[in-house]
């Protein structure tokens, strides 16, 4: 089984999340479609404001990752943004972000797509870029303003948010990558054709053969190949399309609540798609101590999972306070009703 390890040690030198301040409670959605009867998959989700999109979300996370890393943006050799809601079909999100953080023009830039794991793919490629010596720093971002069809099950969870990871030499890192591993198959659990505004999904097909098969396989393989067990990790973050799947998967792997609760944000933020696993990682890094181990596993429909095993280094001391923590963004909260939500997310057609 080929887990991937860089030849030269590589780590995270800066990170930050961004979560918009608007929240719609799941109950406000269920009142519209089911008279509020039946359970809801989460408590509430984050909604982007009228002037926010994947570019602005990626940008704030990127700026704060730079504040934490304290490096000159001109030294960033690649700016990669993973998303399934890039504002343009043709014109990269990454060039706008690179320009606004001051990384242009001597940088590589590109947009990545793979449903909800586009951001972690960019992280993996970044590890390779840095380890090969081709670049010293790579900025990998996962950000989305996800849409669910009104009345569809996904409407309760499809949320907005993102996170940025600045990857660089291990000697400057707050956490080093011990290894990464991907598990990928052709699975039709969720898709969107180019002309379609909302995605389609394979209903119950999304659980066992998609999410659980890929997340569990990736997590088990990286741990066994590294000779580790769940006890070796202080934090585990699994992709979180709702509150139930990641809890169940973490339990099946042998983790306990204390290990997953810091990084499990979907109950109060929703599913931020490309941002989801990376957002959980930022919440763990905010409170991590030197010597902690973190396991982070993303999932993207279509389908695949990227797993990362990280060892937190001494460099983490004092870094969190240089920018807003993920919990600070979560507590910056303004509740909105369904009507305002419909306007913010462009669900009203006025013409």
């Amino acid at each position: 089984m080929a887990i991937m390890k860089p030849i030269k040690p590589v780590g995270i030198v800066g990170y930050c999340s961004y979560i918009p301040r608007y929240r719609i409670p799941a109950k406000a959605i269920s009142q519209v479609w089911t008279d509020g009867k039946g359970g809801t998959p989460i408590t509430e989700k984050a909604v982007a404001g009228l002037d926010e999109d994947t570019v602005t979300i990626a940008l704030e996370a990127a700026r704060n990752a730079l504040l934490r890393a304290q490096i000159n943006p001109q030294r960033i050799g690649a700016v990669w943004v993973g998303s399934e809601s890039h504002p343009y079909a043709v014109k990269p999100t990454s060039t706008i972000v690179a320009e606004a953080i001051g990384a242009v023009p001597h940088t590589q830039a590109g947009d990545w797509e793979f449903a909800c794991k586009a951001g972690t793919e960019a992280m993996q490629a970044g590890i390779g870029f840095v380890a090969s010596g081709m670049q010293r720093y790579v900025l990998a971002v996962g950000a989305d303003t996800a849409q669910g069809r009104p009345g569809d099950a996904l409407e309760y969870t499809a949320a907005s948010g993102g996170a940025a990871c600045l990857i660089g030499p291990a000697a400057e890192s707050i956490a080093t990558f011990e290894a990464t591993f991907s598990f990928v198959t052709d699975t039709p659990d969720f898709w969107r054709r180019p002309h379609a505004h909302y995605p389609s999904h394979g209903q119950r097909f999304t659980g066992e053969p998609a999410y659980f098969e890929h997340v569990l396989s990736a997590a088990k393989t990286i741990m066994s190949e590294l000779g580790r067990t769940p006890k070796d990790y202080q934090h585990v973050i699994l992709h979180q399309p709702n509150a139930k799947f990641p809890r169940r998967a973490a339990k099946m792997l042998g983790f306990e609540k204390a290990q997953w609760e810091t990084g499990l944000l979907s109950p109060v933020v929703g599913n931020t798609y490309s941002g989801a696993a990376m957002l959980g990682l930022t919440a763990a890094l905010d409170i991590a101590r030197p010597g902690d181990r973190i396991l982070c596993v993303s999932f993207g429909s279509g389908a695949g999972s990227d797993a990362f095993s990280l060892l937190v280094s001494d460099g983490i001391e004092g870094v969190a306070r240089r920018a807003p923590t993920t919990q600070a963004y979560i507590s910056r909260r303004r509740e909105i009703d369904y009507a305002r939500y419909a306007r913010y997310r462009g669900k009203l057609l006025l013409a």
């Binding site: 926010e52 320009e99 001051g102 905010d286 807003p324």
Partner: protein, 135 residues
């Protein structure tokens, strides 16, 4: 249209991230960038990156927004006094108009300013929001 695109493109650094100038003679910080220092009338100097921190100097709510900005109305426009000195006009975001107060600490964020219809460019630029404390 092409002239319009070129104009927006030249303003990128200034509009995305508050890049102004510092006067090499009197060291006043200048925004927006211009040919001569408004304070001492000497030739304006090298690029200066503003911190983005400031406070609300005055503000007004906009209910009837000009063309291209209608989709975000109502919103608040403020005169913001930057920490480094200059006063600039900008939209406030992530705040209700009733909650805005003179002297309120604000910080720069980059947001969508306007969209040129469904098929045109999306314009991004600076706005200010209530200052979010770091951790």
């Amino acid at each position: 249209m092409t002239v319009e695109i070129a104009r927006h493109w030249r303003l990128n650094a200034q509009r995305y991230s508050l890049v102004g100038e510092e006067c090499p003679t009197c060291h006043d910080k200048i925004f927006p960038p211009r040919d001569v220092c408004p304070h001492c009338a000497e030739a304006a100097g090298p690029d200066f990156h503003f911190s983005g921190k400031g406070e609300v100097f005055s503000h007004t709510a906009i209910y009837n927004a000009p063309e291209g900005f209608e989709t975000q109305a109502p919103y608040t426009v403020a005169l913001v006094k930057l920490k480094e000195g200059p006063l600039i006009t900008a939209q406030l975001t992530d705040v209700q108009n009733d909650d805005v107060q003179i002297g309120m600490p604000v910080e720069m964020v980059t947001r969508k300013l306007a969209e040129q219809g469904d098929e045109g460019l999306i314009l991004y630029g600076y706005k200010f929001r209530p200052q979010l404390a770091a951790a």
